[in-house]
Symmetry: D4
Subunit: 244 residues, 8 copies
């Protein structure tokens, strides 16, 4: 815009043209969604497509539009049948089944994160969410490590990984049921902990609300929380933190 | 009733008299409440008066009716002004301020519990509830020990008391906020754990609902839960368990 | 750990080796979950696999790992097709259809419980949950008896079983809808009552929340509650209580 | 209106006058509320003023307007200071303190109900609500009897009143906490039971929602429910039922 | 029991036999549920089977047990396939598809209700619930009339039926969405109105909770409410009221 | 009615006939629902059929009854299979798949709205709801324009459409997730904004409740809200506003 | 901004100055809040101060800043003591006690609304909210009329005002309890209805949530809803509608 | 512990003494709470006392214990009367009234954060929470800047601060009501945004739940959320992030 104003100042651009340019700058309409080609530049991160509720064809269409402009494209919440359709069209795409996620990278992803991101999960059922977080952080150029099934009912298992925990610069902790793990982990470190409640549990787990509320009430203050089952969001903000 | 039937069978009691006797057996009306004099016999425990919402005069009235029949009387949820009024009338009554509770015992309470009941609490704010539980268990004839402020954010403090924890036969764990402590404690023992959520916390602690739901979702299976802030109930059922 | 420290003290073990040993003590990784071989020893109870959300193959894999170390293995929340697969692989496994549960025992289970555990349920629809509780208590070495369909709308039916109720040392009461049965039963005994709300009902039964809240509000104090439909948890903690 | 149409037909009333008459028929404006003088005629019941949120002066003003047209006036939810002000102005008014209610009757109320209305309450704390129901039914011309403190934790007390219960034509049952009493009572009779949840309880009593939901989920079908603490409404509809 | 006591008094029955008799009086066990043969006598109403969650075989089994003792049997919440199975076994059974209900009557039902029960519903979608109520009241021996689709958005339609409304002795009003119809109807009559919220609506209808809460908050006091979609319960209690 | 009264006054109509006429004026019964032929006249808008929960046959039946009296008929919430059935019967009917809506117009719809109605939506998933709103406003005779996918996470996209926004006389804004778009848009204009929360989102989107509550809490005061996913209602009231 | 661009184009303004101007355009900092002097121009409406939670001094401070730029200033949610302080400082200010609102106008307000805005309320307790709406609409230059206490329990009262209702161009309807009035009113007109739920009621009125949800579920489609007790918002958007 | 093990290995410490040392390492009991002197070392942050629910004396007692070991002590949620008591005892303590917070620093706090933390708030009422966050971040050694009252209803105000926003390394955004600000801000930057919902608002703001849920549903992925009104927690985790 600075540049546009200079052009206007120098008379190289009329006021009307400047106004028009500002309106059409960097947008392109396709049928189902505006795509902002400059976002990867502006945001410094790969583009992500939320797969749920979109057809395989819609996803492929968006990917095709993105491909010339992006090095890495991720598709989240995509089941196997749709994923197979995508893989048949894009040979660089890789499907991660447990996380219901596709990652396509044209060039090896450059490490941009400074420290290590550690992903912990409380139970076996929390693994899909934890893996979504780990893959996201990985695709965004981080050194990532994961330890699964270290819930608080057998807390000695968690302590077996104390070294890993101490070395991490950012921690992502996924837990369902009573959502107690982030509080315990956060009490062991002086690093930011991103807590992800999962919808695992029954009865009054209330689809993850109980774990969410427990995490927000954590008696450790170095905990911030993302939405239920939002592994992607946890990986995304952890990556932003790890670049500082 | 077996006895009454036998009297009827032997002709010593008419049918009408038997029916009448059954109706009036062991009840006595005072204005605000039926009191069942045989309850301490039937239940094997002292009588308890829920003080909240009753005037000091009403409480004193009920106590007076009970006194001839009971060795121990407890009054819960009674604030200091009301308590002073009671203490001025009943010289054996003792007021426990932190727990808002009066215990009156005519004779030393006989130990009936077999093992030790251990009361743990997560934060300093949970102490009133924990103390209500401890005093209740004590008044019901148990060996009781308490450790306060051993929440999960500094979990090494909890482990400093591992011996005590291992020796307890029943454990009562009070916690507010994220309610994680009972899960961790229950994972350390093979004993029944009675969890008491407290209304401590703010924001989405929801007056204790978050802690309650977290406890019901405990990934340890040896946890059962009582109502929010119900220290009395926790002490009561722990006492029943400890007599088995 | 006492032992390890002694080895270190005597110079038989280097500090580094001791640290390493502590980390790997008694754990073994398989793909989907840590299994703690010492748990049956530490906990004094058989191992349990929560079947829901796991494939038959995953369940079989975990069972195979456990089999050398355990006498009794239970699988809960397992439907008939998966159960058939398991039965075809483990000849000692028995499927209990109404409770959706498999129990595998290598040797006859030794009675460890002292008294009798009585399981009551309010309606015919509550039977699966009640049966899960009964089978769990049975597999954990208790003398168990069950009476179904004794809800409060026909309260004389409940009273027909007064003798059984009086003789039980621990009672498990499952009820949906208004969840009133545990209160009534608890008023009849001086024993601990474990209440299990079920998700039975419609309209404002709210998937069992109404029964759960009613039970937590019980006007009888010898009631503690487990999660909705958590028959296993009720049987588990009742067993712990019954061993005291 | 039939009459008005006839006047129009006979030419004794112009169309415009008829339209105007219809608009102003039987209403009279005072500052804070329309009062419908014909309501007692149309409804066949005395007029009631909801006292909460109105000043003593406003209540007195409405009463004065009503007095020429009504034999009985009731004021609900009125505390003692306001009540004293009213009593000083209307000598026939009587204040019922436990129910926070004023009843003013110019002539003895005529019995219009056919059978007896029985009011039961579970605990001492439920008495104010139960009494509001009883006084309302009384003021509406019914034969009313009350039994308080017969909750399900001591269910034998309830059975001591079985005769009374059997003879009632309509039953009102007030209960807080787990709200179980109406289900038990309804199972004992073939009469309509009006259940009134009270806001008594703590923790997850949720201000009476737990009792309300439990009552709506009653496993007895002869139960209908009114709003929390709505003793007046229970007495009102019970009176309508009792006149059939 | 009076009779039994007399036998005991006269020595014709031993105490032990009397105790035993009391236990087995009028119960008979079949696998899935206790059936109380004397209920129709005690209750004065036909027996009802809640069909949901039961197999056609289970329903048929219960019906067979009941048939010798009952004149009328109703099955609620039964879909067409199960209903066909029942109809093939019991030739007197009639299936009412819109209400998902079977009514079997051996002899014509005797009219026992005094006045007319009027069933109103707000929208076309509320008809199944309204019809369940109407059929229940009919099977219980009442004169029943129904008017459907008279919701408050076109309130003149409701007024077209004013005569019917005025003549009813008990009214049942079913409504979903905003649940306003019972308030309006109750304001027009001096008769008891039983309101049935339905789960019809979307968004914040919350599965009927909005209609339920609105009905409980009715500004008309002659309204009592049953559970969401509980047409049967509404018809049942209306029948009890109509017999007074 | 004025006319009827005049006839009565002039003696051309008897009182009884007048009463009868008033009752039957303009209603006609078909099996599933009252249809009010005069509604389009009275309301000045086309008739609408809510398709969900009705069979294709029922919808066709209602349409047939309406067709002689209406110029425009809309069917909302109708899926493709049912729509095909309708299209085969009514050749003027057009199916709009993304909005799940049929519009049938016999004559071109006359423009009755004064200004332009602008429909905005936050994400691609909100399009079906937004389109339902746009089609409704269009069928009701308005000049309508739509801009989709202008959510607040890329707020510069929204500003690219500032001219359109400034020119609209009424704005409809559909958004799920955090529901922030209506607040931002309303802050940019001095026109009424009708906000439609959608059920799009996961975790604590709570089926649209979060967006709904956020919109009701808008810090801009020119926002009013309709039910979740109620695109039809938004288009309907916007049309009424646009005619003023 | 168009103008600024032209200055830049003509060389009368440097690029840097233009950038700076854009940043500081029309803002002025005072301690507690940014005030946007151009808002009344941009919005075409008077400025409003939300009084709750602000001290009388803060309110006076903001008013003083606004006074040179505004003709009308409103203060909402201001209690009597604070209002007196304001009135002592600003002689043109008028306090409306029932609505807790101050209106200050320097010049007579110019009528800008086209038709009449009618404000209806269901009960006497809803009057404060209704009056806030009426005063707001009045201060924004509309012809306003109000009718209070026309709730649905006595629906004939509402019909007495049918002429007024038919003549209004926009209707505001305030109601608490079951929130039914807007549905009934909206069914009588072809005009937009703005519904305002009030927090009036008890038990399950849930602080106005029940009325809110009922209104959002209105079976009339010409209803849009504002936040609970938000009389100001209702008056504000109704004013915007009335200017179209 | 490494050190202790080495002492044991070298025989300088007996096994028993080592076990004992481990138990008493760094704990000291005072009446109301364990204080962990090594926490500031372990955590690398100053100690914080949650003031709410503690008396001034209790707070002073804890501070005295901490003073020898800490350079900075903060007390949150402390009202003015209590604060005055503390200030009279500790001369280095400073009270920040708007944030209800005391900060005591013995030596100037050393800057440890790398970039700038920017605190934004939506409305004037959100300032106390925002200020608590800013003061916390400041006390933890960060460069902090704050901009208040930049809510989304006047979004151009926010854009006036675009430079500040672009330069921040971590952003804290406090907002009540609809909670939209964090989404908008996060869409403008590639930095982590910590969102703090506040309890500001009325009606369906639900004490901050609406803002909380909206933030968790943010359509921007670089947002993580802390508990309602938890300004301290936001400042704390932002500080941890800013040290990476």
């Amino acid at each position: 815009m600075q540049h546009l104003l200079e052009l206007v100042a120098s008379g190289k651009l009329s006021v009307e043209e400047a106004a028009s340019k500002l309106s059409h700058l960097s947008f392109e309409d396709i049928e189902y969604a505006h795509i902002d080609h400059h976002r990867s530049l502006r945001k410094g991160f790969p583009e992500v497509i939320y797969g749920q509720g979109k057809t395989a064809e819609q996803i492929a269409g968006i990917m095709e539009k993105m491909l010339p402009h992006e090095n890495v494209i991720m598709v989240t919440r995509i089941d196997e049948p749709k994923a197979k359709h995508i893989l048949s069209l894009f040979q660089d795409a890789v499907y991660h089944q447990r996380a219901n996620m596709i990652v396509l990278q044209k060039q090896p992803i450059q490490k941009q994160g400074k420290g290590k991101i550690l992903v912990l999960s409380a139970g076996t059922s929390d693994i899909p969410v934890a893996e979504e977080a780990a893959l996201t952080a990985d695709a965004m150029g981080n050194d990532v490590e994961s330890v699964f099934d270290v819930g608080v009912a057998g807390i000695h298992r968690l302590f077996n990984h104390k070294d890993l925990i101490d070395q991490a610069s950012v921690l992502i902790v996924a837990a369902g049921m009573e959502g107690a793990l982030p509080s315990v982990v956060a009490g062991m470190v002086s690093r930011p902990v991103i807590a992800v409640p999962t919808s695992i549990g029954y009865g009054v787990s209330l689809g993850g609300l109980t774990a969410l509320f427990a995490m927000l009430n954590s008696c450790s203050s170095n905990v911030a929380v993302v939405n239920i089952d939002n592994g992607f969001g946890a990986g995304y903000i952890a990556s932003m933190i790890n670049r500082l």
